[in-house]
Amino acid sequence: MDIPYTVDTRPDTGLYNAKAGIWLFLASEVMLFGALFSAYILLRVGAPEGLWPLGWLNVPLGTINTLVLITSSITTVMAWAALKVNQFDRFKLFHGITLLCALIFVGIKSFEYYDKFTHYEVTLKDGRIADGHLKEATDTHVTISGRFVEEREELYDLHKHKAHGHETITIAREDIEKLSNYGPRHNTYMAIYFTLTGLHALHVIGGAIVIGYLWGPGSRLWRKDPERFTNRIEISGLFWHFVDLVWIFLFPILYLL
């Protein structure tokens, strides 16, 4: 028993099965990310005046990541086009670059995450707030490299209150009221930032595994059934474009706005 249209297109719909499937899957992905984007909007609109963080993320790094993903989108199309004109070596090259881009993206993202998890806001018992990256933490004291601020608002709008210079601050444990890093629990901005980019990163990693498989062991199918293999590259490419597109929305709303 063979299922029809696994490789050929059905004349009246113009699709082969997997293509219909991936578009439907992407429609549901749109709803998944759409719900999270709506959550972002609602949380941001509901935040008290002046308490929505601005400029907390590293724009140059975000820009590099955006360019990396756009490049990977181009190479994934080039890889597919190479198969269409029967140039398997060119496919290997371009899809290799796609895979590399995916890894660079995840690498940069991990560095950004690490930066947030080592970034601490320390509320002192005398009401002052120290903010900076953790250098050392012992039973008796905590050392951070950062600055003191008078008002919490100063930490929120970093466009207005740019941090100038870092000093090494050592605080005794008994002077600390509250110590919290810029992890998901820090505030709703960090929560939605980690949730959105984390879910997106999972998509990147999932896509990279598929692309890696099709680049490596999966590419043996090319010799047996080139048309089917080309279709697989097209399907994984469609998914990859979607992952890029999500980032194209994530970058401005989290980094720029």
């Binding site: 299922i3 219909a20 499937g21 709803m31 949380l43 935040a47 998901p184 629990r185 820090h186 929560a191």
Partner: protein, 606 residues
Amino acid sequence: MQATTHAIPHTGVHEAHHSDAGFWRTYIFSTDHKVIGIQYGLTSLTFLLIGFCLMLVMRWQIAHPGEPVPVIGGLLEAVLGDVAAKGVMSNELYNSFGAMHGTIMIFLGVVPLAFAAFGNYVVPLMIGAPDMAFPRINMASYHVFVLGGLVMLVSFFIPGGAAQAGWTSYSPLATSIATDGQTFWLIGMVLLITSSLLGAVNFIATIIQLRAPGMTWMRLPFFVWAQFVTAFLLLLAFPPLEAAGIMQLMDKVAGTSFFLPTGLAIGGDLANVSGGGSPLLWQHLFWFLGHPEVYVLILPAMGIVAEVISNNTRKPIWGYKSLVYSALAIGFLSFIVWAHHMYLTGMGTKVATFFQTTTMIISIPSVIILTCMFISLWGGSIRFNTPMLFVLAFLPMFGIGGLTGLPLGFSYSDIHLHDTYYVIAHFHYIVAPGTIFALFAGIYYWFPKMTGRKMNEFWGRVHFWLSFIFMNLVFQPMFAQGMSGMLRRMADGGAMYSATANARAGAGVIGGLTDYIMSLHTYILWAAVGLALAQIPFIVNLFWSLRNGPKVKSDNPWRSTTLEWQTPTPPPHGNFAEPPRVYRGPYEYSVPGHPTDYTPQNVPEK
């Protein structure tokens, strides 16, 4: 086309090979849509029974608060521990049974049975396809479903017990109850949503891509249309709940505050959270799924009803096109009615007005569908067999359920009825004597195709009449209770607010739930027990008929027109003996001038 014609001649051979594939490949890791359909069917029927048993225990607690549960009280204590000390249901246990009853019935019972089981078994046959478009994804969908179900079941036995915040899991309540049951619930839901996503993609792709030659859109049986729209609802409405589930999981596990407002106090102390979240956001995302979900529950049932009615009245279904367009309209409108569940959240009267308008509009296509079904009966020579009895009961029962929904759809009358037993009675009339009756009809109707034997007709009728009577005895009194102001989700069944309790409290407290309203609990309890007993003939019949039911004399015992009956019985791997070609619409019954009173879709024009 080439693929089909090239493939089918081999099916007979394939079938022989397939049965040799061994137990695991044939029954557990099967990629055959029919086996997966039956797997889904048996699993979801089991879950329906579990969900029903939870409710039986709860009904005891409601009627006799604080008294040990008879018969199984000791077992509850032995298995669940302190929450059922001395066999008495604690409030926590009541809450978790309530939450899990809803969750199990909807996500593990009715939806998998209506959509995944019947859809899997029947849809590819009806459209003349050899299998689903993605058989392995189909298998994965079932396995993820089972995993989700197991996570839900396991949560009963962890310290603190299962989720307690209702099937709706409203935050901040859901996040602040000190049990990991909610975490299990969320992980279970994410798995179930993944499963239904895989299923929905597969169904839609199958219906779009694998229709047999000649099976144009307007020749699809209504059941296929209903499943098609249902699949779209699952595809597009579930992901927002998945997003919400992920966020609540973050709240629960990573300490975020998506749904926790600033200044939240739990047990009198300020919660150690950053705040800034929005409890309303959860409700919006939940009901964005929650309402389309209602139509996920009802559309496949309507599809079954259409098939059984036309077959047993020996007439084309009346208004086929109206049915199709109504189903599509319902599908579209169901995405813009969700906030009628939230009139009392203070989201504003203008928003409420919008949603009450769309809610009234969506009742129109539902009424069109029901009316078409009723008119289809007119002038037919009706065969009153078991499936038809269930379907005939479906029509008024769904009517009651639908019409009692209107007062809930209006924001002003909802103020009185919101969160009372009236709501429970309303949606149970839709789902229990509505959808579940249609599902029973489907089981009795397609059983001969699945097994080659009919189910016992006498015990089928016993099952029907007893279920029909007890079903109404269970749910009808709840309308009265709800209108008297009895709230749902009360572990003591409202005893605290009864007139008796108020009189005891002394001067100044007047009114309360009257003794009569309170006494209805006892009737409902025994009606529910009766309903449980009424299912025994069904369960026995289902398994007994596998071996001992009367053998069908042809592949098409009901003399039906649709393609699923034009296959060998039971259909082999690959389904059709030769690739079907479709020449006519789905309901050519009693066409004047034709030799028989039914003309199957694959019979060529003369």
